[in-house]
């Protein structure tokens, strides 16, 4: 009695250890897979898969792991650590039979088995598991799995998996002997946005000597049409990604130029140190990052939230100090302002070099900004760029609200339009100048914070953007935010499109030529004030 109980417990334990549930597979098929000619074995795999039994996957796994042995050419056993289990029934086999042969798996069979395993995983409730299964099938699907794929397609609800599955199915059907099936498959392929589809169709249209790979002319004609559809889809994806990088560059230019639109566009102060105020913001971000890393590593992912105000105020304070100490005395003398602010920019660059060294410093993306989102196949939008586009819009909105809806904005506009009259009615013009300049500088700091997330942070950071941002303001026209927005986006897009067509340097030169020509056509719409104001 005791012995029997003991044996039972042992067998249960070994069952659990192997994690082999009891099942029942058709014994003849199990045997056909394990031994015999390759072709027959492959056919048996497909039949076994089609049976849809739950134990099949584990059996294939064992085959792939080399745990399957055939006893006396009849019984198929799964042998693990000298414990054998009948592959068909799941029964424990003891003692181990004598005449065991390994069930060898050659490469061809291995591929089939792996594909079959993926096909089986298609019924997994876990979406991620199904997705990996589909991705695996895209390379290693066999015709025999068609029914399974069809069944999976019928119950699949996820659009992405459905799309991939359809492609796999069509790819399989193309190999069918029936021309009607092939024709339907080619039609189905037109929905695909996978670049592999193109290869599939091209292979179909290939000509070997005088013989086409696809014998049926109707199928070939349909394949031509489909190819055209797929190609246009692919090129539209490319265009989409180009538009996105254009918008992304435009948003960066917008950030860099928005501050300038206030200090230069509204106040008329030509600030060559604007780029260096951007740099101050970027270094502010760097310092906050270091502080978080040292003091609060747990909150490191959120350091940007603290860096944004720090960057703003760092640049704003530097800007206000400049306005009070230098720029104030040069109002109305734009060329002198230009030279003096250039001097300031040199001093700021050298200060940063002395404090932080001439090398670029490392500013890391927080985890939630790395990676990207794939909106259409083959178009990956990096999160940091998406976030910066959103950030640029937010800053734009902020500036607009500040200028159009607040008392400070009212004062700034009043001083811009008529300084004397504004002063007469009690606007503290000197303080408004300082605050407005501080605002413009602070926005430069925000731009620096954003730029630190996508580019190098070094002492020369500002120099790279100063020419571009002035181009934006010159093109956009003075005294209006809308012009700045249009100019930034326009220049960003134009730059990216021309870059794809002629290279980065020629694109820059073409843009410059364009700006000069554009000014020929519309000088008054851009920046020239009319009449006597032109000399003021």
């Amino acid at each position: 009695m005791l012995l029997k109980k003991y044996a039972l417990a042992l067998s249960l334990a070994s069952l659990l250890a192997c994690a082999l549930p009891a099942w029942a597979l058709p014994a003849d098929l199990v045997l056909a897979v394990a031994a015999g000619e390759s072709d027959e074995r492959i056919a048996a795999v497909a039949k076994l898969v089609a049976s849809g039994d739950s134990g099949v996957e584990a059996y294939f796994q064992s085959l792939l792991d080399g745990e399957v042995q055939v006893a006396g050419g009849k019984r198929v056993l799964i042998v693990k650590d000298r414990h054998a289990v009948d592959a068909a029934t799941g029964e424990k086999v003891e003692p181990l039979p004598e005449n065991l042969d390994d069930a060898l798996v050659n490469n061809r069979l291995r591929g089939t088995l792996e594909g079959a395993r993926s096909a089986l995983k298609l019924s997994s409730p876990d979406r991620a598991a199904r997705l990996t299964a589909v991705k695996a099938l895209e390379d290693g699907a066999r015709e025999e799995m068609l029914p399974l794929i069809g069944a999976a397609l019928a119950r699949e609800t996820d659009p992405q998996i459905r799309q991939s599955l359809t492609l796999v199915q069509a790819g399989l059907q193309l190999k069918s002997a029936d021309a009607a099936v092939r024709l339907a498959a080619v039609k189905a392929l037109a929905q695909s946005d996978n670049p592999n589809t193109k290869m599939l169709l091209l292979a179909l249209l290939e000509k070997k000597g005088d013989v086409y790979a696809e014998p049926d002319a109707a199928v070939r004609a349909e394949a031509q049409d489909t190819l055209k559809a797929v190609q246009s889809q692919l090129s539209s994806a490319e265009r989409f990604s180009q538009i996105f990088t254009g918008i992304s560059l435009g948003s960066i230019l917008l950030l860099a130029a928005l501050g300038l639109a206030i200090t230069y566009g509204l106040m008329g102060v030509i600030n060559m140190a604007h780029g260096e105020l951007i740099m101050v913001g970027a270094y502010g971000t760097y310092l906050v990052q270091n502080l978080f890393r040292a003091q609060a590593p747990a909150l490191f992912d959120w350091y940007l939230l603290a860096a944004v105000p720090v960057a703003f105020f760092a640049s704003a304070i530097v800007g206000m100090a400049l306005e009070r100490s230098v720029i104030r005395y040069l109002y109305g003398r734009p060329l002198e302002t230009l030279l003096a602010t250039w001097g300031i920019s040199l001093i700021l660059i050298q200060t940063v070099r002395t404090l932080f060294g001439a090398q670029n410093v490392q500013v890391e993306n927080p985890v939630w900004m790395s990676g990207g989102v794939e909106i259409i196949a083959n178009v990956l939008l990096p999160w940091n760029r998406v976030v910066i586009i959103g950030f640029a819009l937010a800053v734009l909105l902020l500036v607009w609200v500040l200028l159009a809806r607040t008392r400070l904005g009212l004062f700034v506009r009043a001083v811009t339009q008529n300084r004397g009259m504004a002063s007469c009615v009690g606007v503290p013009t000197a303080r408004v100048d300082t605050l407005a300049f501080g605002l413009g500088s602070g926005i430069a700091g925000l731009a620096g914070c954003a730029l630190s997330q996508i580019g190098n942070v070094g002492p020369d950071l500002g120099q790279t953007y100063i020419v571009d941002s002035f181009m934006v303001v010159v093109l956009g026209g003075v005294g209006q935010l809308a012009g700045t927005v249009y100019a930034a986006l326009g220049l960003g897009m134009a730059n990216k499109f021309l870059e794809g067509w002629s290279g980065a340097v020629l694109a820059k030169i073409a843009i410059l030529a364009f700006i000069i020509i554009f000014i020929q056509k519309r000088p008054q719409g851009l920046f020239a004030l009319k009449g006597r104001m032109a000399d003021a």
């Binding site: 230098v326 040199l346 000088p523």
Partner: protein
């Protein structure tokens, strides 16, 4: 001449000519003697290094005069004069590269950088550059044509003030990017260097150096006189009027575009010549000469010396570059601080530069002198 005809001063007064003569004497007699004849180690010996440095500064002084014509006298601040300087330098550099012959590292007929790019023949724009006269023509024509075309479009659409400055800065920036490309055919970011000879003379000898130095000195004096002739002529008066009140000039029936275009092109050509003299003396030309920072530095030379004074521009170039060559060796990390402060302090406190400050001092002294006898008589 009607009664309202403006007073047009002479080229120079007697004292001016004497000072100029003394300068010429120093340049053409003292320097060659001290460099070539005096033995090394002697108190009166001037080293090759000093000659090269002085030659370089004189090239800068020519540029400063050109800048003063367009900025000091016409009120147009160009931030792209470094471009014209570099273009002249590149034109001369092409000739000097051709003169290297097969003495480059690869012993090829082509310059090393072309061998490196695997080019088999000179591109079309290099043709005839082995002729000195053609290179000299390019030195004048390339900057001149570029300035003419650019100026025509810019002045016609009445771009002025800071807009013009910014556009010229963008222009030189774009050209810098263009010349940084290897495929442009001007040696990429290394530019041209390792020159061997000029007009058959080995470039590294003291004799060639002093000859180049004297040619530069002569060019500086001729440029100064030429510029002086322009600013003292009626044309010069119109230019000054454009600087002070362009609209009024227009309303009086002048077309400022012609005047501006003329002086702008002349200024660019002078810069190109200065660049052509600069390259054989310094031995290298590369795209960093076109960087916006270089062009804006030219403006500070003129500002330090004194806008609207040709001698001031020369003085300014000498002061700033002299200080640069001393300070960048002694305190390399503080040079940018110094230069930055110079920009700020000169614009804030010395709007008329060193010459202006000097004039002010002289006027004050003269007034005191006038006041003293008056006080004496009342006593």
């Amino acid at each position: 001449m009607g009664p309202l005809a403006p007073h047009i001063s002479n080229l120079y007064g007697r004292r001016g000519w004497i000072v100029l003569g003394v300068c010429a004497l120093i340049l053409f007699v003292l320097f060659p003697l001290a460099n070539l004849v005096m033995p090394k180690g002697s108190l009166f010996h001037i080293s090759d290094f000093t000659v090269a440095l002085a030659g370089k500064i004189m090239c800068y002084a020519i540029v400063a005069v050109a800048m003063d014509l367009i900025w000091g006298y016409t009120g147009i601040l160009s931030l792209g004069h470094g471009l014209f300087f570099a273009l002249g330098g590149y034109a001369m550099g092409m000739y000097l590269m051709r003169m290297i012959g097969r003495e480059g590292q690869y012993q090829s007929d082509l310059p090393d950088f072309m061998v490196f790019l695997n080019w088999k023949a000179y591109p079309w724009y290099w043709s005839f550059t082995d002729q000195f006269w053609y290179a000299a023509l390019l030195v004048v024509l390339v900057p001149g044509l570029l300035a003419f075309v650019f100026g025509f479009f810019a002045f016609r659409s009445r771009i002025k003030g800071v807009y013009f400055s910014i556009i010229t800065q963008a222009l030189t920036f774009a050209f810098m990017l263009l010349f940084f490309r290897n495929d442009t055919g001007f040696g990429g970011n290394n530019g041209f260097t390792d020159f061997k000879r000029i007009l058959g003379h080995t470039i590294a000898t003291s004799q060639t150096r002093i000859a180049l130095f004297m040619i530069t000195g002569a060019t500086l004096i001729v440029t100064l006189l030429f510029a002086r002739a322009i600013v003292t002529s009626k044309l010069g008066r119109v230019l000054t009027a454009i600087r002070d009140a362009e609209s009024r000039v227009m309303f009086s029936g002048y077309n400022p575009v012609h005047y501006k275009l003329f002086i702008w092109t002349v200024s660019a050509v002078i810069c190109g010549i200065a660049g052509a003299l600069y390259v054989p003396q310094v031995g290298i030309i590369n795209p960093s000469e076109m960087s916006p920072a270089n062009s804006i530095e030219i403006a500070i030379w003129v500002a330090v010396g004194g806008r609207g004074s040709l001698v001031g521009a020369i003085l300014g170039a000498a002061i700033v570059n002299g200080a640069k060559s001393v300070l960048t060796v002694a305190f390399p990390e503080y040079w940018l601080f110094f230069l930055g402060l110079l920009f700020i302090l000169v614009t804030l406190f010395l709007p008329r530069g060193v010459i202006g400050a000097f004039d002010q001092l002289r006027d004050r002294l003269r007034q005191r002198k006038l006041a003293q006898p008056a006080r004496g008589s009342t006593a």
